[in-house]
Subunit: 407 residues, 2 copies
């Protein structure tokens, strides 16, 4: 680290308690730090195909053999020799004898087959039932059929060795079905990130007497959405020593500490991380969520999220979630559906901060819900989604086209 | 039922074995039947907020009290009387005494508060730490502050009685957080549909020696995606009697029978349903998946899905999934992300059938994968999504704009 970098780090990780943030990392610096520590991803593991739906495939899967492996009937009907059907019409039915599937097909012989069944030796076409009539063991056929008609050739769906499922794909229901149907029972997937959740903040931000903790259930749902496994560890007392212990405990791939990141005297989460690791950034030019921080304990990334639930939500969405998705082999980008729409009512934002503005779609146009400072968690509950306003902009005027990330 | 309707029903539910489908219900008729039986939805149940993320809210949730319930600090800092800060600047600091939160605020008194904490009686503003310096119990302040600055007024986020979460909304992580933070621990949600899965078809459609059943794992994943709880019931022998028994067993909200819907002699699923209920439709003008059927046992809807895995997938997506989503209180529409794009290579379809064409996006343009008849499950595995071609069309020419449902 150069002297200038070290000075910048010290300025950005200084004690902000009773002082305030003198300097914040830019949003881009925070993202760069997260990508360095998330991009390697976690190692792969072998699991059963049945358990693998929704998991991230770690290695490309190729067809181990032709699909289908042999010529098969494509329709229900009678397998026969196409040449022998020449001239058959409604007015000139031709006669065949019904045979067992196991026998070699005799001259003018036919075998009843279901779609998907192997084609009997000697047959080259399948005539559907509706062009036939069975009388005892004698089959009348009313239509001629070309060679290959009603037949799925071996390898017609795909040839042995062809790529079926690319690496980094999330396994779909039909993928699992196909793999099972070609005898593949186990697949290599990226291991699920083990995410430790340390709730260090005070419970209430609403003044309600029976208020419970908002951040635990909220972060739990978000982590699961992003493919992480949640392990909650609540320190008995949310002070420096106990938070340090919860961070230092081994066994997690990433640690989120929620709360105690601000400027109050008991905002000891950054201190707690520095004691058992390295605080790399404290304070990000992001609103809400500007008191977020990040660092390492050993090689494990630790994210500090604000205790105020809206700040916590925003810092999770734009920072922590990205790291969890990367570690699990998913795209680091936001996982929300995106809709482009026109701004209907001015979106106000602060120059120098990336702002996460909660918005509603009213008659297809974008309107802010609350404002950057005012809103609390309610604004994100009443919103249809959010717009991310880059740091150089002071918002969007009516008529601007923006991307809405839909909740 | 009028005589004409009854005749139509008999024509559509006649035995197709060794004959073929003489008539099929239109796709619209099938949808109408599904909507009649799905739309009432399932009854509601009370569950904990923690378990309710991802569930469908059954009744609107309104704020039981103002949020916040009292005036709170919006920032970390010192709560004080704004009038007493008049004239304070860097060059003219004013002196305050630091007080305990429990005492009434004396003249020129200040109380240290964290964001979210209740405002002490007498204070009307919060001055952030960075405009102050604490020396023992004496506080120097370097800035004047207006009344209300740094304060979140009671009810500022939302007033008591305001709608917070509308009915039919899927509970989000931040919703769960907000409810917990205002003391709401239980919510009313739509009961999860109990979906019985009866695998009646043969295993192999690939000719692979170690082939397993594709439809069970595939349908399981799709049902879970659509919010259903899966109960698998595999008849010992996939013949009429055993299938009837699996259908007639009580305890399911909807029953899917996969396999035995075609024209072969052992395609007895329609017969099995008719024995213990009523077969309403057998054969739908849908490709792949045209041998699908539907009916009732008692008042429970029963869907018959083709055993061929691609037909099974398509009939699930366009028919069965709609019913499950409706019963669970979700939107009946397809749950996939939709992207509009231009057709790059001709999409061929059959007039008179709704076709589900698997497609790829190549340089942003839509290209078919396989064709309607050819493809098997592999085509849906190698596709990025699908296009639904309405019955009156024979496909889409290059340059047409279509909606792609993305896998």
């Amino acid at each position: 680290m150069s002297r200038a970098q070290e000075q910048s780090r010290q300025r950005r990780c200084g004690d902000v308690r009773l002082r305030g943030f003198s300097d914040r990392a830019s949003f881009e610096e925070a993202i760069a730090w997260l990508d360095v520590h998330g991009r390697p991803g976690l190692p792969a593991e072998d699991i059963s195909v049945d358990a693998a739906q929704g998991r991230v495939i770690a290695e490309p899967i190729v067809a181990p053999a032709d699909i289908p492996a042999m010529d098969c009937a494509e329709v229900d009907g009678y397998a026969l020799r196409s040449a022998e059907t020449e001239g058959a019409t409604d007015y000139n039915p031709l006669l065949f004898t019904l045979n067992e599937p196991s026998h070699p097909l005799p001259l003018a012989g036919a075998v009843m087959v279901s779609a998907g069944a192997p084609l009997p030796a000697g047959a080259d076409a399948v005539l559907p039932f509706d062009a036939t009539q069975l009388k005892g063991a004698t089959l009348e056929i009313f239509a001629a059929v070309a060679a290959g008609s009603g037949v799925e050739r071996s390898g017609q769906q795909v040839r042995a060795g062809t790529a079926l499922i690319e690496s980094r794909r999330i396994l779909r229901p039909q993928d699992a079905g196909l793999l099972r149907s070609i005898g593949i029972d186990r697949v290599r997937v990226v291991r699920l990130p083990r995410v430790r959740l340390v709730i260090a903040g005070p419970k209430a931000f609403t003044g309600h007497p029976s208020a419970g903790d908002a951040n635990g259930p909220m972060l739990g749902g978000l982590i699961r959405r992003d493919g992480g496994m949640v392990e909650t560890m609540n320190p008995a007392e949310p002070r420096c020593e106990a938070i340090s212990q919860a961070i230092a405990e081994p066994g997690a791939d990433v640690i989120l500490v929620a709360g105690r990141t601000g400027t109050g005297p008991d905002d000891e989460a950054p201190l707690a991380l520095a004691k058992v690791g390295e605080l790399a950034i404290h304070g990000v030019a992001l609103r809400p969520g500007g008191s977020a921080g990040m660092g390492l304990t050993g090689t494990t990334p630790v994210l500090l999220l604000p205790g105020d639930p809206l700040g916590c939500l925003c810092a999770y969405e734009l920072l922590a979630g990205r790291l969890i998705r990367s570690l699990g082999g998913r795209s680091p980008e936001l996982p929300h559906r995106v809709r482009e729409a026109e701004v209907g009512r001015k979106i106000v934002s602060a120059i120098g901060f990336v702002d996460l503005c909660r918005v509603r779609l009213v008659d297809g146009r974008v309107e802010p819900v609350g404002s950057v400072e005012v809103g609390g968690l309610v604004s994100s509950v009443r919103a249809d989604g959010f717009v991310v306003v880059p740091a150089p902009l002071e918002g969007y005027a009516p008529g601007a086209r923006v991307k809405v990330h839909l909740y």
